[in-house]
Symmetry: C2
Subunit: 123 residues, 2 copies
């Protein structure tokens, strides 16, 4: 996965990977440091097999990488991909908010030009 | 949906809603202003029924609201929920990045205290 821009397929996988409470808890845990399947399975009432599957989903989404160390194979969070997701969301959030601000400005301008409609003058 | 914090169920729905290229394109379009199903269906090679279903998914996720105007029922993007998603992601991204920075500092400190291993001195 290139980090410059996420393709539609990468975004599909990454958002889908985050659409699960156990995988989000794994992301939260890994943000504090790499961990093995055994370490990740401990706080959850699910099997190591289930944890392994969740990690595989996160790995295919590019959100987690795993070391080549066959003995431990700890999983590590990849913050660059999380950043790409917030960048995608923020692009549209900021566009929307700036449009709302312009609308507010227009409405404020309208009120000033038609003072008889101003609520504060009706009191 | 309360905007103070998204529950696991809300996060599930919101991330799942974004894990689809057509729904992301609808979010992109709505960031530029409200639109009806007819207007949203135009650029896509899919039926209005399919667009309606996608909007319903976005609406259930709290990402989109629809006006009560039965004639038009335009869909509007809800930037506050997008903001909650980036807040969730950024919490763990920033924790990871700050951990990486501390690790870098430790490694840099190690290099300084054992100058014979510094690469720039080997040249």
């Amino acid at each position: 996965m290139t980090l410059d821009s996420l393709t539609d397929e990468h975004l599909d996988r990454a958002f889908m990977a985050l659409a699960d409470p156990v995988r989000r808890a794994i992301v939260a845990r890994l943000s504090r440091g790499p961990a093995t399947v055994n370490e990740l399975a401990e706080p959850f009432a699910i099997t190591k097999q289930a944890v392994s599957k969740h990690i595989a989903v996160l790995e295919q989404a590019g959100l987690v990488s795993r070391s080549r160390d066959a003995q431990r194979r700890p999983a590590t969070l990849v913050p660059e991909v999380l950043e790409k997701l917030t960048a995608w969301i923020d692009t549209y959030r900021l566009t929307t908010e700036s449009r709302f601000r312009r609308l507010d400005d227009v409405l404020a301008g309208t009120h000033v030009s038609t003072p008889t409609h101003r609520k504060d003058q009706e009191k």
